[in-house]
């Protein structure tokens, strides 16, 4: 029941976000046809604008976008304008003419999803061990070193990691291809570049969670019962310790799965990450709105999944 209510609140929230982005990109100065190879003549520009209905008022454009615009056809009868969000149609891209927004997203999304999941696996797979190790050895130099490693990963931006990996691992050592997308080997450097920052974040959260979990009463009880250190850490404390990582997983996955401009740019990967930046810059209105909606739905949906996972991990949440 609670789940259904949560699901229902996602709809108005998504609508608000989409509406906000719809008007936000349109109030920005400049238009989608400014940066053509040569400036269009006024007639051509007017024709273009008419074709994409950009000559209508903002309100009319918005209704058309939602699919709630009614207009008169040639015979004078009223009917609903075709397409629109309620028909599942995001419209046509203004930059890549002849392609619909949905086409472009569907083409790039599988690549971004694969890369995103790989980077997620990398971040979790390296971040949690690093963080747990740091917490278990919190007093010694090894723990300090792992904490420093985690914080360093957060501090080196992807556009430094990427080129450095390309230079050293790709070009000097020649272990992995430095660009394009195809074989599993192609995915290694992008995965590391994309995942390294998140790995550091996960390690910091896991460390904090583990340090706190190890201080709780039930751990003292477990120790008093004579549970060995391995059992204390992995059987008792671990579930509680990774709670912060679980709650961070929602926003993290939303970021990872919608692609990354930097990584796709450095490694020439045909994902959808480059489109968000490029579409915002070139005022490709339908494209921006479509991508924002994708991101928002992913983020809100994943946060819901995270909340459900919470109940599975922590009995105290379940009882509420």
């Amino acid at each position: 029941m609670r789940l259904i209510r949560r699901l229902l609140t996602l709809i108005p929230l998504t609508w608000v976000i989409v509406t906000l982005s719809f008007f936000l990109v349109r109030v920005a100065p400049g238009g989608p046809f400014d940066k053509e190879r040569r400036p269009a003549s006024p007639q051509v520009e007017a024709a273009l604008k008419h074709k994409y209905h950009l000559d209508e008022s903002l309100g009319a454009q918005y209704l058309r976008f939602l699919g709630l615009k009614w207009e008169r056809d040639d015979t004078g009868a009223w009917h609903r304008a075709e397409g629109g969000l309620i028909a599942g149609d995001f419209g046509l891209s203004l930059k890549y003419r002849n392609h619909s927004v949905a086409d472009i997203i569907l083409q790039g999304l599988p690549v971004s999803l694969v890369l995103g999941w790989l980077a997620f696996g990398f971040a979790i797979g390296t971040g949690i061990p690093l963080g747990v190790f740091g917490a278990v050895r919190a007093r010694g130099w090894a723990g300090g070193l792992s904490a420093l490693a985690a914080i360093s990963m957060v501090c080196v931006p992807g556009f430094v990691v990427g080129p450095v990996l390309v230079l050293i691992v790709g070009l000097k050592l020649g272990w992995f291809p430095v660009g394009l997308w195809g074989s599993p080997a192609h995915a290694v450097l992008p995965m590391v570049t994309l995942g390294l920052y998140f790995s550091g974040r996960v390690a910091r959260l896991a460390r904090e969670g583990m340090v706190q979990a190890l201080q709780s009463d039930f751990i003292r009880t477990a120790r008093a019962k004579g549970v060995d250190e391995f059992g204390v850490v992995f059987r008792h404390a671990f579930r509680l310790a990774i709670m912060p990582v679980v709650s961070y997983s929602g926003p993290m996955l939303a970021d990872l799965l919608t692609g990354s401009f930097v990584v796709e740019n450095i490694f020439q990967i045909p994902g959808i990450g480059v489109f968000l930046v490029n579409a915002s810059l070139s005022r490709d209105y339908p494209m921006v709105v479509g991508l924002v909606m994708l991101y928002a739905v992913l983020l809100l949906g994943l946060n819901l999944v995270v909340d459900l996972t919470y109940g599975l991990l922590d009995p105290r949440v379940r009882h509420e």
Binding site: L13, L20, L24, I151, T258, L281
Partner: protein, 315 residues
């Protein structure tokens, strides 16, 4: 006065009440990484102020020594126009640090005001203000930044250039301050709102209200000082995230405009020069190293301040 002077340690142990500030300062000094980080930051700021001024190879001047490897003439090598990388990196660090701290200040003002009002007002106003924050959270910030910066540029650039003709670069920086601050205040607002929500029902606030204090007085005299620790900590952690965001924007070509360069611009230039035939590693290693180390120091400093200012923090 005639008592024998006890050992210094004993004196400290005998004084039961240190002020919270003194206790925080002592905790901070005991945190070696944070102290090293603070010293490193001070050193970096000094270099960023001095190197571009003293540099014998002016940052903007080109020379014939194109892509010279690091050596005695140019310690950190030269770039495509023969400009000294060392000088450019520290000039870039100065800009990045400036953008980071002013941007963080902007986000601080917005976030603290928003969070304080929401938390203090409570009820429906609080709910609406925090829903707004939720919505902005779900909007990819890059869209917002691009729209904001281009809109500001469109409306204000003409105005500024009328005021002074050479304000192009300055104007860009102003827009960056506002744009970056405007997307970075959300977490600050959430944290402050949570704090204020728990503070506003505390006895000292009720006491002040019963003495006839107005809302403004309660907010600024009683609540603001109590959240200042959290604010300082989070401010320190916002500076590196804004520096990072600015360098990302510069990487996209939206940040600081040439001939000025931030660390992000320099890294983007270096990344553009990578090819399989020749590697100009110094173009990426030095600006990248300075950026990463500055961010690291700021984060360590922030962590140290958090441990020092949080009363529940570890002993």
């Amino acid at each position: 006065m005639s008592d024998p002077i006890p050992e210094k340690d004993a004196v400290e142990r005998m004084q039961p009440s240190l002020t919270p500030g003194a206790r925080a300062w002592r905790r901070f000094r005991a945190n070696r990484p944070a102290v090293v980080a603070a010293a490193y930051l001070a050193f970096l700021i000094l270099l960023a102020l001095l190197v571009p001024a003293l540099g014998s190879h002016a940052a903007a001047e080109g020379s014939d020594a194109q892509f010279a490897a690091p050596g005695s003439a140019h310690w950190w090598g030269t770039d495509v126009h023969g400009r000294d990388v060392l000088t450019r990196v520290f000039a870039g660090a100065r800009l990045s640090l400036l953008v980071g701290s002013v941007g963080a200040a902007v986000s601080l003002v917005i976030g603290v005001c928003w969070g304080m009002v929401a938390g203090y007002a409570g009820g429906r106003i609080d709910g609406m203000m925090m829903r707004f924050v939720d919505v902005l959270y779900s909007l990819p910030s890059i869209v917002f930044v691009i729209v904001l910066i281009t809109t500001l540029e469109d409306h204000l650039k003409g105005l500024l250039s009328r005021l002074s003709p050479q304000s192009g670069g300055v104007a860009r920086m102003l827009f960056l301050f506002v744009g970056l601050g405007a997307v970075s205040w959300l977490t600050m607002a959430r944290i402050i709102r949570g704090q204020v929500l728990s503070l506003r029902t505390r006895p000292f606030v009720l006491a002040s209200r019963s003495l006839g204090a107005g809302h403004a007085r309660i907010l600024f005299r009683h609540i603001l000082p109590n959240v200042s620790g959290v604010v300082i900590v989070y401010l320190t952690l916002t500076v590196p995230s804004i520096i990072l965001y600015e360098s990302f924007l510069s990487y996209l070509g939206l940040g600081i405009q040439p001939p000025q360069a931030s660390l992000g611009t320099l890294i983007a230039e270096g990344a553009g020069q990578i090819n399989p035939i020749r590697t100009y590693w110094w173009l990426i290693a030095f600006p990248g190293g300075v950026l990463a180390s500055a961010l690291l120091a700021l984060n360590l400093l922030g962590d140290g301040l958090r441990d020092a200012l949080d009363p529940r923090g570890g002993e």
